[in-house]
Symmetry: D2
Subunit: 438 residues, 4 copies
């Protein structure tokens, strides 16, 4: 029994239901392109926003009544875990994700932190076994405590680096023992507030060393999951090194890790970086580092991470198109890194928000399937690039022409290529038409 | 004689002069940290904004009276070149930079384009010899003509790729023969307007092949200058692949070119990418790809490339700090990729704007020198990172600790590092105090 | 016969049609809340983007082949008018809108401008009578010509103010004679590029005087249409005085015009002002100045006016909710101030884009109808504000309490009101669910 | 004795001092245009950021050690007041400003809140008398407590409105008794998070009624200070009604309050609204509602209110130009609504930051004086608008021409006005040159 026990289990009731506590679109067994909808989405509830936050913002305190707010004792940590697993099972989602700090009793030293983590690991192991809920990923919170004010792996003080190593090793091993399918690093304060006190080159080198240590440790302990970096351009820092997917890729290459580490792309982080979410997804596939997704949305008028629940399926559908084309998310999933609005003070708002978000994702996947079946998008793209499949196009890419050779061809053939319509409005209308749900 | 003949030569008159057509700060022979101010700055006038544009914007036509506007004949192209060199020498700046399309008579085919370019090359060679004005860099305009509407190297049509090769080879060779110190690629439409019609992975591969061809050609013809990419995040496209320095670095590594190609950083492109200009400069040095600078500024309220002349020396001074610390710009320089406001219709506005911009740069360099002599910034940074020069810090970076080793150290020593003041406000006040010019 | 004659008339073929040249949603006779869909939308084609632009941008020239590009003769102006009316009738939309400069032959003096306008007025009158196409609004282009570089009504030179008066009077009278239902002022350069050369207070006063003259003239000539201001925050200027609806309202009040002038709200102008389109619509209704709509969308990553065709009906549906609740747009309509992408070079792209945009609007209206019929949104709002319909709430608003009185009530009753859930996620899910089209 | 007792009093040591705890520019008795620098600036320390905040952000807890953190008892509130006045006197600034909630012991009901406020009022009265420190303004925090989650005056629940009345009346009267020179309203949550649950028109009406009650109460109690609204566009809400100066002016007119209420302009709020600070200042003077200033700066890359200490005098100098031209701030002052960076954990950082900020303001005022004495800016503006002082210009503004009359003039005189250079680059260079401090 918990504060979440009055609701659920949430069921699929179909598109005409007006029950806010029922799925209208998300029928997890619905087959989409040969795979179940639930298996495409691998839905995940995030512990931090849903159980370890209370609705505060920079201008006011918490508004949500949760019995375990304030300083967290072991007893409260356990009550919170009870409530979380109660919620997971009633919502019917298969995965959860957490930071060490979200789940443990408050600790005042590294040894105590590790002890408290071990206690919760044991409890989680038991609950996971009982409920079948699985761990998508674990991560370390190495940004909230004052010791991390100037970063963890990029801290000017190597003792902080070492402390972070102690914390990360513990949660990596916990994640491994709990069967976690990924391990995530979000560099909350791995960046700077001012260049005036920052040795950029040194910090990037330290950061690279830390990430290499993480990868080495993964192999040492036999963890088979994926190591993921979660890009974000700024906030809380003025500048965060893991700015976006392309930047992370450059960093991985520089440190020899582009085969070892992938990205966890968050919708709202993409838009804060002034990139479309679908851009980040396409770029990650193009670079071979697609890992997992943090699902939410930002408010298009707000300049910070609002982490709202998604509600516009059309916007998301164009990101699910490459996901479906590439066969899915692998070890990744769709993690609701989304928080209730501060005014959403009813206990059932947490269900309502997740249900609505899940239905939005389900719509997006079904619309992406419609786009694929429709074929007009794929056909247009194939036709547009057809020249690169001709002998001439292939020869260029196989290096058979130097710049001078190719210049000679252009001159000799007196090439005068004409612009061809990009058909943007037509293709956009196909996307819009594919939003019909049946 | 040209429309610019009524003014100049511009002289240094010192800080109390109120003559808008005199330098108040830029004394090119002033010694700054052992090198002449003029040698730090390597000032460059951009042909396009200053001679080949007319003040039009998306909502109205040209306002500046230049005798060579409209369709450009060879005669007009030569009159324009006369005026340009008249301006360069009267302004007293040592370099210029140009796109092929800025300088030649209009052409309707690739052969005609190349012929027209050769004609102007001959004229430039003569004028450069007569005046001593040098070429900082040449570049190809592969974005204005309708054939490039969908990109040049990233065009879906390989014939456009080949046409671009013809154009680039010609201007590279012209740049080489004119003693240009760099060759620049700005990927104006190397990006996309919509992902719906774009094969991102293929376009990135084509782009990489093109850049490799350029580098191979450089070596083949014996060009000793630097190949530079100029990052910009968007505009005219929705997304441009060369988004910023870190993104370009990832792309270079992916294509094996990180030792061959550097960046030409533009102030306004940095801020459009939501990055401080000084960030881009520091990042380029950290990654070893600092090349050259396009000097201008954006309006902080406008979301497009306004290319205004700089006027706030303090803002620029923090970017010149690493430039001075690193010994200068190498083959690069300070190119005024800056345009008059549409209302600046007087002929002498072009002088006034350059003079003001040059004085702003001069102030920035002198302020950066003051920061270096002051030592407080460097001392604070050294103290902040001192831990990484201890045996413990060095051992970490030399790989002597695994994650588990380091975790053990943290536990055994019961590390509990405390936050140390970042002194941001203090350091900012040092910068402000160093703005005094004497 | 025109370049647009190969297509059309465009017909309604229903939701399963894959014909890009047919309406899938827009059945103009479909009844929505007792009124025909066509009568809610009052669809309008904009002359400027569709017939008087050629696909140029700041980095390249025109790409669309239109026979009347370049300097426009009277013959070309007439050919363009033929093509425009051919397009209107084949598309099947009831209204058009134009600036004087879009439609006339090029003129080099005010008298010639007025003559040329009169010629086109006569031609339009005849075509409107033949086709039944009506004029939603006319407007003056007082921003493109160099004389308006520093504004029209806010120009520092009163002769420019007078010239603008000459131009505006002519097009107002033409609009009146053609039965135009509104007259629009968009203050393209009514603002500033730098405060350093601007007398803000004087310019606002001049602008107020001009607007009063326009309103006086309207009454004098017996024009019964609505005078509309179109807000935009910037571009081409750094700052435009008519920034958004609330700012315009303040300006109207200051000049005694809040009963005389309404707003023409453009989607992309709202988002450039960092306001949701639906905010601007709701604000205009709240202030009593809702006039008409310019329908398009911006790219969320671009910082300038991209004027794209709309394609996300859900985004628009929340703006159509208040429109339906308030009984419609009055003399206003939905004007496609939207332009093809530069790469959309096929003649039929203009049809495809309008058809897709119109279907998007139709979806939005039908979804808004669904929200109204669903009642959950309206019920939630009524319940949330119920306190203001109690005697206590009414007394407050009727002025029966002073601050001290009310403070005394709070103290005596020891009021301790609790937060109530705002149900944001629930209401957003209702919007999403109401997007089903049947 | 307090944690701030080790420093001070801060003295003026002149431009060459490198003592971070001394003024280098701010000599309060320096005469600027006939008035003392201290009297132009009326420097004010803000209680909230400096004494009632602890360095937390959305991603981590407090870092600054202040003895009165956590739940605040009366004893702690008094210790905090001791420390605050210790700081004010050692810094040497003449004014402070506070919210009720910043200064009082925590209270759990309105009566207790009022009692606690009265206790602190008595303490403040005594300290003010002892030290000579004066109150620039008081204000109510009606946004932090959960009861205000949906706003105060714009709350859907009239009981919250009444509670806010109780709170505001108390702090207004305290402000009055303490000799406060202004009373400020910042509508932290007077706005909305989603339009879906918002009755915009009703909320604006409630807000207008509340403001009228405040003004009526001011007159009733004989408060002679100025009532100020502080504009901000968003944060914490998605949209705040008091968006910017022009919007507030429209709201004041609508409620008949444009002669009764002025604005308190914050630098960072202006830039969040995408307006230059100098624009807001000029607009406030143009509309007759210039009140007071909250001095700080935002980071140009961050999309939220960073409230940093100012450090670029040139940026501020263009806002002080109209302030000097208009004779100063009246009852207003320069309030440091600025907070330390989270890493600035040394106690003396609070002094360093204020000293640097004050010197920045002093530089800005002295530079503005230089611009006025230089005369080039004023002369250029006078020349530019000279036409409006001719009989023709005056007649237009005196209403002697109708639109038709003026059109006739334009035709008869065959007016053909030419664009005149706006001289933007020249004027910007004058501003830059006037930054010399001597
Ligand atoms: Co996330
Ligand atoms: Co987030
Ligand atoms: Co550039
Ligand atoms: Co630029
Ligand atoms: Co418009
Ligand atoms: Co627009
Ligand atoms: Co403030
Ligand atoms: Co602020």
């Amino acid at each position: 029994m918990s504060i979440f026990s009055e609701v659920g289990p949430i069921k699929y009731e179909g598109p005409d239901s007006t029950n806010p506590l029922a799925y209208k679109v998300y029928d997890k067994d619905r087959v989409v392109l040969g795979k179940k909808l639930g298996d495409w989405l691998r839905l995940t509830v995030a512990y931090w926003h849903s159980f370890s936050s209370f609705g505060s913002d920079m201008f006011g305190g918490g508004t949500w009544n949760r019995p375990w707010s304030g300083k967290v004792t072991q007893e409260q940590a356990e009550a919170r875990a009870d409530a979380a697993f109660d919620f997971f099972t009633r919502l019917g989602t298969p995965y959860f994700a957490f930071h060490d700090a979200d789940v443990i009793a408050d600790a005042s030293s590294l040894p105590e932190h590790i002890d408290n983590l071990k206690k919760m690991e044991d409890i989680f192991a038991k609950k996971m076994s009982q409920t079948g809920v699985k761990l998508l990923w674990g991560t370390a919170n190495a940004f909230s405590h004052p010791r991390y004010a100037a970063g963890a792996a990029t801290n000017p003080d190597p003792e902080v680096f070492a402390y972070a190593a102690g914390q990360v090793r513990a949660i990596m091993e916990t994640t491994h023992r709990l069967g976690g399918e990924n391990y995530v690093l979000w560099g909350g304060r791995e960046g700077y507030d001012t260049l005036l006190n920052t040795d950029l080159k040194a910090e990037l080198a330290h950061f690279g060393r830390f990430l290499n240590m993480v990868v080495e440790h993964k192999h040492k302990i036999g963890f088979k999951g994926t190591i993921l970096i979660e890009p974000k351009p700024f906030e809380p820092t003025k500048h965060q090194y893991d700015r976006d997917t392309a930047t992370v890729f450059g960093f991985l290459q520089k440190n020899g890790l582009e085969k070892e580490v992938k990205v966890n792309i968050e919708v709202n982080h993409a838009t804060l970086a002034n990139l479309d979410f679908e851009h980040e997804v396409e770029m990650a596939y193009a670079l071979g580092i697609m890992g997992s997704l943090d699902i939410n949305r930002g408010d298009p008028r707000s300049g910070w991470d609002t982490d709202q629940f998604p509600n516009n399926a059309q916007d998301l559908s164009v990101a699910f198109l490459p996901i479906l084309e590439n066969g899915g998310l692998g070890t990744g999933g769709c993690n609701f890194d989304a928080k209730l609005r501060r005014q959403s003070v009813d206990v059932n708002d947490l269900y309502i928000a997740h249900v609505a978000g899940i239905d939005t994702l389900a719509r997006a996947v079904i619309s992406a399937e419609a786009m694929i079946k429709d074929k007009r998008l794929a056909d247009a793209k194939a036709a547009r690039y057809a020249g690169w499949s001709t002998p001439f196009g292939k020869d260029i890419m196989e290096g058979k022409y130097s710049l001078a050779d190719l210049a000679d061809v252009a001159l000799k053939k007196n090439l005068n290529p004409k612009p061809v319509s990009g058909k943007q409005e037509l293709l956009e209308s196909v996307v819009a038409q594919c939003q019909k749900i049946s």
